[in-house]
Symmetry: C2
Subunit: 348 residues, 2 copies
């Protein structure tokens, strides 16, 4: 979902961007027009997130999944150790891929509680010599989100923020690298953001595909080859919108308001339940179960007739899941909450 | 440049695709709606190009440049030999990258004639044991295009068709793999097509990023991770347009008509010149020089005031370059030809 005003603006200038007579899709990536779009997007991102000057911002292709390989191929040598927090489907995929390239030590896992609670910091078994500590800031499928920045001393954090990027402030002093696929809070699928501390660049393995080298992409200012220009432009419009709305503080307030409303309804209900412990709950993705699972299909069908779609949980966990990204208006949550309360009255 | 009717259609359904109330950008990639869009695009591509059933079609990210690595990482083992035809900037880049992974033998080169003629077939020094013969079907920067499918016996061809894809028929019996970045003739930047013979799959090197394995992408039907959905949709609209216009035969006739008009003007002129020999000339990209190079900036400035943009040659060769892709209407060529004739009258 993208903000309505962004979509309207994109539609207005779809055939003629700023009087050029061309669509953004038709602008060459090395034209002054597109370079202006690209630089403005980066400047707005840096301002919104207060990204320090010693971090490079890369606009890449490949999706977050590409980063599961790219991170270890750039930040480790064979045999190097990496710590990972295993808190759900996405961190699981990432650490499996990283394990092909370096020694991954699971410092903490939520597997024993079926991914319903982020392990207590005191139980983490961090290695002294880890290159970085990897975690998934928000687990989309399991609906868990880190509420604080993990503390790992001198060892830099690397985090997949695909599904909660731009919804809370980031303390860059703790991070070596952050990445995010665009398609949740930033723009259309096909663009991947990487924000990386510059002193970590330049150690990529020699044999990797050239486009998998962060330093090369940084040197070429993300234009080593033709970038996904239209996605980059759309991300720029979203960033402008966030800035105009009041930046990250406003996005965060709204995320808290939206998710609180739904958690309150679920916790007050005897019909719906959310399995995640209070301190680990995501503001973005709220999985919930119906007491009577045989009503799942009825729930989905009736929801659709109210214009409420994409509510089925991931196939690996079943049940339902509400996703409340930045573009979701409060009215959307109210509509869902109203429908759920009514459904419970009728079937509960 | 994209066809006007395609852009208008995309604009019409930009906010509401087929009554769903959602933009295509907002459709999840695993929804029946998007899977329908994706499958229709592939079906139309297969029909338009008569792609045999034993070829897989992949819709990937990363651009043609990513294929410079992906091809050798999938189709060779270390030490394997590959033949390459070196005919310009793009084949040069590709064979340099391939050389990092296997033994690349330059079977023929146009370097000695400054990339103005494709070497005679009789002069090619093909290896008996090459895994494949690599070539760039159309060299965008130097304006050279293969007029016939290279004959290499049992050794399969691998070709970068980024800049002339969908403008002429392809004899798949000679090919092992074809790839094309979308942004010339197929859709917006951010999508890369790979058409690969299925018996060549499954031999990727073990240590490559998982997303660089063709077999894995084929198995996952190009949805191993979130694909660039909007670009895929736009490509689908372009393919539908090509089909409605009459398919590849019509695209080819138009390409011949457009380019012939410009070559005739250049050859008849004493002011403009094209350095490429007749049998090697591209239908897509026509580089040309002004007799008096000090007029280059005047030419570009006056052209722009006639709405003729993107005419500067690549920085590596200088001069001018007209690009005449499928979406270019005949009126666009007429406008350019008229301006050039007038410019010669006034300055020649």
């Amino acid at each position: 979902m993208l903000p309505t005003v962004v979509m309207q603006r994109a539609r207005e200038e779809f055939l003629d961007w700023h009087g050029t007579g061309l669509s953004v899709m038709e602008l060459g990536h090395r034209t002054p027009e597109f370079i202006g779009i690209a630089e403005q997007a980066e400047a707005n991102l840096r301002e919104i997130l207060s990204i320090p000057d010693n971090f490079a911002v890369l606009f890449l292709q490949g999706g977050a999944t590409s980063q599961f390989s790219m991170v270890p191929l750039n930040l480790t040598a064979p045999g190097d150790r990496v710590d990972a927090l295993y808190t759900g489907l996405w961190s699981g995929k990432a650490l499996k891929e990283a394990g092909r390239y370096c020694s991954v030590s699971v410092a903490a896992s939520s597997e024993h509680n079926h991914f319903t609670a982020i392990p207590n910091t005191s139980d983490w078994q961090l290695s002294a010599n880890a290159r970085y500590v990897y975690f998934t800031d928000n687990e989309t499928v399991h609906g868990m989100e880190f509420q604080q920045t993990p503390k790992t001393g001198e060892v830099p954090l690397v985090s997949d923020m695909t599904s909660n990027f731009l919804t809370r402030p980031i303390d860059f002093s703790a991070y070596g690298l952050i990445f995010a696929g665009a398609q949740k809070n930033l723009g259309p699928a096909g663009l991947t953001l990487v924000i990386v501390r510059e002193d970590l660049l330049g150690n990529a393995r020699q044999d990797i595909p050239r486009l998998y080298d962060y330093a090369f992409n940084a040197k070429e200012r993300s234009m080593a080859n033709t970038p996904p220009t239209f996605c980059w432009y759309m991300a720029g419009l979203v960033l402008q919108w966030i800035k105009q709305e009041g930046g990250i503080p406003v996005m965060e307030q709204r995320a808290i308001a939206r998710s609180s409303k739904l958690y309150q309804l679920i916790d007050a209900s005897e019909f719906f339940s959310n399995p995640v412990t209070t301190g680990s709950r995501s503001r973005m993705n709220i999985p919930f179960l119906l007491r009577d699972e045989s009503l799942n299909n009825t729930f989905l069908k009736e929801a659709k007739s109210h214009g409420l779609v994409a509510l089925a949980g991931h196939r690996s966990v079943g049940g339902m899941r509400a996703s409340l990204y930045n573009a979701m208006p409060e009215a959307g949550v109210d509509c869902l909450a109203g429908f759920m309360a009514d459904f419970e009255r009728r079937y509960g």
